[in-house]
């Protein structure tokens, strides 16, 4: 073809005339693609950049045209779907790790807790210190878990030990498994959360088994060339009254917020199996299971499961019965307390108790901002309410719109029926 740019005035005229029947076809021929959203800029026939000001921006939720000049918007329809779907995290795979950093997360309730994620962030820092020779983070998980995004927390390899004898309080079996991992992989560091009845217990046992003097209560780790393993740590000692600076030993038990959790990279979370079988140990500790504790005696701030009632609860006897059957600690909103249905020490919210329950069930509570503040740290919120537009519905993970009395009665019946069935089976 010749270099000369030839113009077709008629086609250009049709392209300018949006009401012309051939407008779409001509625009397509000119390279302006209307079908998948208009292109706001294109090279004109004479080599000049042409702009279509109508194609810029999008129609906002209120029907007003909005123009976003941040560069994210390329004209056409709102691109909310594309921005949400785009994942900017870098995928990292480490095939030949120079060394391993073993992490034993607590997996409270089958999920990585915030403490576990901080610890994995610390493990990542230690593993990635030398970009030339990165190490891999191995997570050793005991029991079943519900975590799907292990790689997003910074885990390269996973050793999942799912046998039933690791369930409950089984420090001896878990220690035997960790010793097997030590023999097979010999990680450079063992990092555990210093949390009561999780890593604090297991980590100390492991340290003594490996003959290491563990650093406990570690809250800061810095590179240090003079230390034997290249790191120095600051640990809390003397019942929280001392800061101990020492070289980082092979086994370290870290406090929460010891490092930032991983959020910029995604890792492989490749499953590994141990080749050698783990020797079974005869346990001298027998776990007889959890004891039923009176839920009313548990402090509201540390209760695991709270059933909270508000202004929408009309039959308080049924509410108390439901709490008893479900085994939940009772809470209340301010209105219910002010009206005298519940005691003042049961009030949840900014002026009452800030609760940390794993499951918080709000019955007939609309969700005043003070109440929502009080339940900030709850994991799962279930709401039963008549009004689908109230604030607690926005916060809730599961919201059921309907009459609270009937729903609670149905729930109680269901739980009682299931318990009865289990007793028959056993």
């Amino acid at each position: 073809m010749s270099e000369i740019i030839r113009r077709d005035p008629r086609r250009e005229w049709i392209a300018r005339n949006r009401l012309h029947p051939d407008n779409a076809a001509v625009l397509a021929a000119l390279g302006v693609n209307r079908a998948g959203g208009a292109v706001s800029e294109w090279m004109g026939p004479s080599g000049v950049v042409r702009k279509d000001p109508r194609a810029i921006g999008f129609i906002g939720p209120n029907g007003v045209k909005r123009i976003d000049r941040s560069g994210l918007q390329q004209g056409g329809q709102a691109t909310a779907t594309t921005t949400a779907a785009r994942d900017s995290r870098r995928t990292v795979t480490i095939d030949q790790p120079a060394f391993l950093v073993a992490v034993v997360p607590d997996l409270t309730g089958g999920r990585l807790s915030g403490h576990d994620k901080d610890l994995l962030g610390l493990a990542r820092r230690v593993a990635d210190a030398d970009a030339e020779q990165p190490g891999a983070v191995v997570a050793i998980l005991f029991g079943e878990h519900k975590e799907e995004a292990l790689g997003e927390a910074g885990i390269d390899r996973v050793v999942h030990l799912d046998d039933e004898f690791y369930a409950g309080f089984a420090p001896e079996a878990r220690l035997a498994a960790l010793s097997a991992v030590e023999r097979e992989m010999t990680p450079r560091f063992w990092l555990l959360p210093d949390s009561p009845l999780g890593g604090a217990d297991l980590g100390r046992r492991l340290a003594l088994r490996l003959g290491e003097r563990a650093a406990t209560g570690v809250w800061q780790v810095e590179a240090d060339n003079e230390a034997s393993l290249g790191w120095r740590c600051t640990a809390r000692g003397g019942a929280g009254s001392l800061d101990i600076q020492r070289p980082l030993p092979r086994v370290a038990l870290a406090l929460a917020e010891c490092a930032e959790p991983v959020d910029e990279t995604r890792h492989a979370a490749e499953h590994l199996t141990l080749t050698a079988s783990i020797p079974t140990t005869l346990s001298r500790i027998e776990d007889l299971g959890q004891v039923a504790v009176d839920p009313a005696g548990v402090a509201l701030a540390e209760a695991e499961f709270i059933l909270s009632g508000g202004n929408g609860v009309k039959q308080w006897d049924a509410f108390h019965h439901a709490a008893k059957v479900l085994g939940a600690t009772e809470g209340a909103s301010r209105v219910a307390v002010d009206d005298g249905f519940m005691a003042r020490d049961r009030q949840v919210g900014a002026t009452g108790t800030w609760v940390t329950a794993r499951v918080y069930m709000a019955v007939g509570i609309s969700g005043a901002i003070q109440h929502l503040q009080g339940i900030q740290r709850c994991d799962k919120v279930v709401a039963i309410n008549l009004d689908p537009g109230c604030d607690i519905i926005k916060r809730a993970d599961l919201a059921v719109i309907g009459d609270s009395t009937q729903i609670l009665a149905a729930l109680v019946a269901m739980v009682e029926q299931q318990r009865g069935g289990q007793r028959d089976a056993a």
């Binding site: 941040s70 560069g71 994210l72 900017s88 309730g109 409950g168 309080f169 420090p171 009561p196 009845l197 217990d201 100390r204 340290a207 003594l208 563990a214 650093a215 406990t216 209560g217 809250w219 809390r236 000692g237 003397g238 019942a239 009254s241 001392l242 800061d243 101990i244 600076q245 020492r246 917020e257 959020d263 001298r284 500790i285 027998e286 776990d287 007889l288 299971g289 959890q290 004891v291 039923a292 504790v293 548990v298 402090a299 499961f305 479900l326 085994g327 499951v359 919120v381 039963i384 689908p388 926005k394 916060r395 809730a396 993970d397 599961l398 919201a399 059921v400 729903i407 609670l408 149905a410």
Partner: protein, 274 residues
């Protein structure tokens, strides 16, 4: 009660060793009886009340001076007539001395606090004893339910006020923290009258601890909310907008049974129904 039955119960009593340390008052820094160790002694006294014939021996490894003696008398005032002091110079490793003594006297139950209030306070000592002696260890104890036929039934405290029942074969080590019952008051008179049995032991200086740098605890920096935004629009949104809900499931127009079933499923998944 018949005399032979009483005698039988006398024989059922066990040997309990309670390990105590010198505590540190959190504000004044003065020596006192350590909070957790005192709870451990309280637990031992509770076992003695349950099981007549139980012998409690209290042990402390450390140097002997005026302030530490006053602190140790705080324990003695809880109802003991004497205690054993394994004398060591300041800054030596208590583990070896304790292991030696415990192996020689072989008590059936050793009760310790979870961690010391001064020095390193790493909480490794009970674990070190368990590893050296080869005895099982249970941490975070709430109460001892019963002792029979060389097996002790315990209640372990779990987070969130929960309890777990465990059966442990004796001899065993148990460690106690804030979940155990509060220690009784110390009586001044009995504390003055109580005596120390002082034993000198082999001691080895803790050279590793001497190399570390110890400083009063600094306040930990508060974690900042880090906003990683590529554009001004994202930064503005992060600063100005209130956090949107993650968009939970909303069930409208369902029968109470369907709603209850959805809730039941979530409660089962979260494993809060017992």
């Amino acid at each position: 009660m018949q005399p032979d039955l009483q005698q039988k119960q006398q024989q059922q009593g066990i040997d309990v060793a309670v390990l105590v340390s010198i505590g540190r008052h959190p504000t004044t820094g003065r020596a006192r009886r350590a909070e957790q160790d005192a709870r451990g002694l309280e637990l031992a006294l509770a076992i003695e009340a349950e099981l007549p014939g139980t012998r409690i021996s209290m042990l402390h490894a450390g140097s002997q001076d005026d302030s530490s003696e006053a602190a140790l008398r705080g324990y003695l005032g809880m109802g003991l007539e004497s205690m054993t002091l394994l004398e060591q110079p300041e800054g030596s490793d208590a583990i070896l001395a304790l292991v030696e003594h415990l192996a020689a006297t072989s008590p059936q139950l050793v009760i310790t606090g979870a961690r010391a209030e001064r020095g390193e306070g790493s909480g490794l000592l009970p674990y070190a004893l368990a590893e050296h002696l080869g005895w099982p260890l249970v941490n975070s104890l709430a109460s001892v339910e019963k002792v029979e036929n060389g097996v002790v039934t315990l209640l372990q405290a779990l987070p969130r006020g929960q309890r777990r029942r465990l059966k442990v074969r004796l001899p065993a080590i148990i460690s106690v923290d804030e979940a155990a019952p509060v220690a009784r008051q110390s009586a001044f008179g009995p504390a003055r009258r109580a005596t120390f049995a002082i034993t000198t032991t082999t001691s080895e200086a803790d050279s590793e601890l001497a190399q570390w740098h110890l400083a009063p605890a600094r306040k930990r920096p508060k974690r900042l909310k880090i906003v990683k935004a590529a554009s001004a629009r994202d930064r503005f949104k992060a600063a100005a907008s209130k956090s949107e809900g993650k968009g939970g499931q909303v069930l409208t127009d369902v029968t109470p049974e369907q709603g209850a079933e959805a809730i039941y499923k979530l409660l089962k998944e979260e494993d809060v129904l017992r």
